[in-house]
Symmetry: D2
Amino acid sequence: MTPFTLVAPRGRWPHNSTVTYRIGIINVTGFAGMEAARLLWNHPEARIVAATGRSLAGQRLGDAFPSLDIYGDFRISEEIDQSVDVVFSSLPTAASAEACAPFARGGVKVIDIAADFRLKEPGAFEQWMSGGQPHPAPDLLQEAVYGLPELNRDELRSAQIVANPGCYPAASVLALAPAVAAGLVGDQIVVDAKSGISGAGRGGGAGFGYSEVNEDVSAYKIAAHNHQPEIQQELANLREAPSPRVTFVPHLVPMTRGIHATCYAPLARSVTKAEVFEVYRDFYRDAPFTKVVETPPHTKHTLGTNMCLVHPSLDERNGMLVVVGVLDNLGKGAAGQAIENMNLMLGLDQKAGLDLPAVFP
Amino acid sequence: MTPFTLVAPRGRWPHNSTVTYRIGIINVTGFAGMEAARLLWNHPEARIVAATGRSLAGQRLGDAFPSLDIYGDFRISEEIDQSVDVVFSSLPTAASAEACAPFARGGVKVIDIAADFRLKEPGAFEQWMSGGQPHPAPDLLQEAVYGLPELNRDELRSAQIVANPGCYPAASVLALAPAVAAGLVGDQIVVDAKSGISGAGRGGGAGFGYSEVNEDVSAYKIAAHNHQPEIQQELANLREAPSPRVTFVPHLVPMTRGIHATCYAPLARSVTKAEVFEVYRDFYRDAPFTKVVETPPHTKHTLGTNMCLVHPSLDERNGMLVVVGVLDNLGKGAAGQAIENMNLMLGLDQKAGLDLPAVFP
Amino acid sequence: MTPFTLVAPRGRWPHNSTVTYRIGIINVTGFAGMEAARLLWNHPEARIVAATGRSLAGQRLGDAFPSLDIYGDFRISEEIDQSVDVVFSSLPTAASAEACAPFARGGVKVIDIAADFRLKEPGAFEQWMSGGQPHPAPDLLQEAVYGLPELNRDELRSAQIVANPGCYPAASVLALAPAVAAGLVGDQIVVDAKSGISGAGRGGGAGFGYSEVNEDVSAYKIAAHNHQPEIQQELANLREAPSPRVTFVPHLVPMTRGIHATCYAPLARSVTKAEVFEVYRDFYRDAPFTKVVETPPHTKHTLGTNMCLVHPSLDERNGMLVVVGVLDNLGKGAAGQAIENMNLMLGLDQKAGLDLPAVFP
Amino acid sequence: MTPFTLVAPRGRWPHNSTVTYRIGIINVTGFAGMEAARLLWNHPEARIVAATGRSLAGQRLGDAFPSLDIYGDFRISEEIDQSVDVVFSSLPTAASAEACAPFARGGVKVIDIAADFRLKEPGAFEQWMSGGQPHPAPDLLQEAVYGLPELNRDELRSAQIVANPGCYPAASVLALAPAVAAGLVGDQIVVDAKSGISGAGRGGGAGFGYSEVNEDVSAYKIAAHNHQPEIQQELANLREAPSPRVTFVPHLVPMTRGIHATCYAPLARSVTKAEVFEVYRDFYRDAPFTKVVETPPHTKHTLGTNMCLVHPSLDERNGMLVVVGVLDNLGKGAAGQAIENMNLMLGLDQKAGLDLPAVFP
């Protein structure tokens, strides 16, 4: 991790001359990879030196994705060698674990933005992720740290490989964690989550054409999405009692970015609104990117940032805690979170490169 | 209710010469009123003969609202006289009840698209609707029939005054009614509802400017919206047991029309998916506008129609029934429903004028 | 063209019992085909008896396209036999001409919603449409009538085969025709057209994913779109003088439906606003679906209808006539226009089935 | 212009400790003011020390506008004192000039994001901007430099007061300037411009409610918008010959940000595509924020940045140069441009704080 000579020519504004860390991105051509490239451009101590994107290898990054034209002559490459300090991967399931393993074993810090290192329970990967195929690197699966600093900051500081959270779990777990940890809520939790269409990935494929998706809301994979066990696993780690059961239903709404998770948890005991807020504020006292807010937050107030806004409230008539968590699915739900994790892994300021107001309107 | 001479000149296509019933619309200038005018244009047996809209009185309807230019020289008027057969009202709270009362007492059939005649429990109007002001016509409140034909078709046939359901309750009650009536579900129900922005009314006012609302999702009036007691009241009528408690959270999503209600109800007993579908299909066997569907429905598949699509499913891990109900908030959620009620009140075919495919894409 | 027994079971509302004409749709699975099915549902004298859609043959239409669920058990078929009275085709280039030819030769009236029968000049089909392949039915190409009733109503009444206009030319030609015919404008016309994304067809393919297209405007095929010679051909027919040259630039805007053509034509002589309006109103005096309006029209005021709104204005400083034409690209720009043409070909009322207010908001 | 003690507490990430210049924003509560605050947050050498916003004075900026919550305890103030180095103003017409004058006269550098200092010709302010009211500071009007660095970089370096360009003129002038300056084009230019709704300002007022504007395109102020003389004035400065006449028509399209100006200019002489590109590339060789691109650019590729993308092309059939210019109306069209101007006025790197990839998707 030594300073280095600039390999890839930078844009027109010659800042960042003191940059120290060299980053590789496996599959920069997905939305999460593109967003990592966007955010890293202004990171004070890290920069991309190589980025793959299979069918586009050889192309200028800025020709493939004009929003990244600022990268000048930087080109998408076939391979990333092990001289990098950190790799991010956003390949599809199983392919990502296979690509990550050699880097992690070779001492490169790895952040898997894909879902391959998230589910720890034996058999969960096969059941939820791969259609029965065994995990390509089960040893690394056990070693990987779940990349939510609000829960695991210390472990992340020394992690070799990080499982970056899914966009829905990031919003949902951050909304529910304080209440679950404090024992405020009982079982039979409902998470009703709404996502912008970019969660479906680039191009989107059949079913995500503009004309079909615009002016439409629909649920999908009702109680069958692989983010449900991820949410349940992380909530289970927060208390001794048996894992809370979670019903998770994702929805597509006609916007590009944003997750709005509305979480409903039956109260385990009587609480006041003031107590709930105290529990939440205590829990996130040291979290730079999760903020407890007093009015229902808007997804748009997080656009382009790494922020998660959490708003707890009580339905006293029905004995229900209702917590809203919102974030940008490509920010705190993917690439922003990955950079926050990188900062911790490299011993940098947790907020480096992520100190950004939201893009509004 | 005799045939009549055409007072208001019709459009360019001289059909509907056999039209029998004369309709008045109080406040045609709201979205619900405009949609009623749109749908009534092609009704085989009813036509608008007068429509008020305070500040616009005297204007051509088609100048005020170019989408209704087909109405030719028809003008917005100051008053509607009692010679009409039916009046629809979509005035604001309390004003609507005041405007409806003289018609109902004078023998004109009345359909209140506003919320004034919905909540029957003493004090509910004051608590939820009017900020403490007493109801302008408590006798009519008791007499009014809740206008959901799937529950009250026979009463609607002989009703003098109908409380047209709210858009959220229409979707939510239709989604939950079969399960509640059959005793499949217990207490502590959650209704997470997503609405297009037209639910906020014309112009929308502060907070509904395009730039603020576009690319944004937010919750509002969490567990404090007056559609919550409406949902609870209608579900309570379906069973002997105590009223189920309902947590209701509405959300705004960036589209113009559509309601997507996702309803979560803890199972009271073990059931199979097949049993659930049988219960639902039985319940809606004779309902022309509510259809039980086997895949998660899209709001857009109801756009411009009076359809409600209902999709029940089970989360067996969590002992939860999840039911999605979708509709067009201005169709089955307002004006379409009002016309269906009118058809019943006048002894017409329930589907008259509402026999429409959805506008797609 | 005799009355017939109902072959395909109808929806739940048993109207249209006196329907006389039997329609076939070749490729109901494109947006234009779907819109034709939507509009024909309520046509008083025509009904669909067969509709093809290659890969979906055998499926219920309502399963393939839930917005058309009202068609009940009607199924997509492999073939359409020649017993129909009219066929609409919306197949891709060349395939459409091939499919239409046997019907036209067998005496069935044909309306080609595709572009195969529009460009009359020898070589134009090869140059603009087919990449050099010769036209499959050059005799029918010469026989086909261009389906814009505002220009060719009488020829359409006796046509065997009709070339339904493109969506951009429909808006552009209707905006410019009165001025060109009256000799108000000279050469070097600019047509700047904005289209909703449904113009790109179903699914849309690469480049039309929601996340890419939303919140974006872009031009495409600048001065190279095959609607340019179509516009120029139709304007040329309106005057003796040499054909006006037209620069045509289409743009995609983030909405589903709608064409907004802004046309700029240098004035050939000095005129007043009043004269311009007189010329325009005279030209469209008998046109039921093109209306001259006094304020800039909104595409949304035509949504779901067969209307075109035309608004001429003068930029006196620059000696320029500016005319806006707006329509629904699937209505007057495709399926609505096709039904209007059908009405003329069958001797029905020109407005039959198209007498509809716009869907607003 | 001395270093200063931090008055307004900064956010959580303690960078920018070497910041040198103190900025005041008059009316931070408009979209342009908010965007200036967003962009200045990460400026390496400037920071906001005071910001007014009349009705909101006293409020935390982050409470008024949650997207700017990163500003911590910074509060909107009643006044800005003359100790600042630069003020930006985005007040309404006339009010802005009045507020700017005392600063400019007191030696504070002033950037007027409003339109008060743009039109130089005597009487133009009265005719186009103020409804006849005289200009509040005619001396400053003559002194003000038009803030387009691509045209006036040297004058901007020494300017006391800058007239920041309108969003439409920025895109249009940058698209046309090289061709006009090189004498490639003649008279009778057409600028057809499409804008996102944020151009209409916050809240938007009547006519900009989401439900009305969504799924709609419309033209407005056809050949009567005050950006027309602004475009014409700046083009006139580029050549000796008489000012080209420009027909300018703005349109609203349903997106939040973005301007797409499509410019049509009759060729004055025969040119090849290669010549045109050479002229354009030469003209913008030293411009860090205007880039000549070879394919039609997308507005979304500039979102959140200060970039303008320009794409010239030829319609040889019609002797027409067609140039597209796209930018973010709040970036290069307002606040980004203002900061670029500030950088020049303060002798900073022109790109300071503006070195940003676009937000995509």
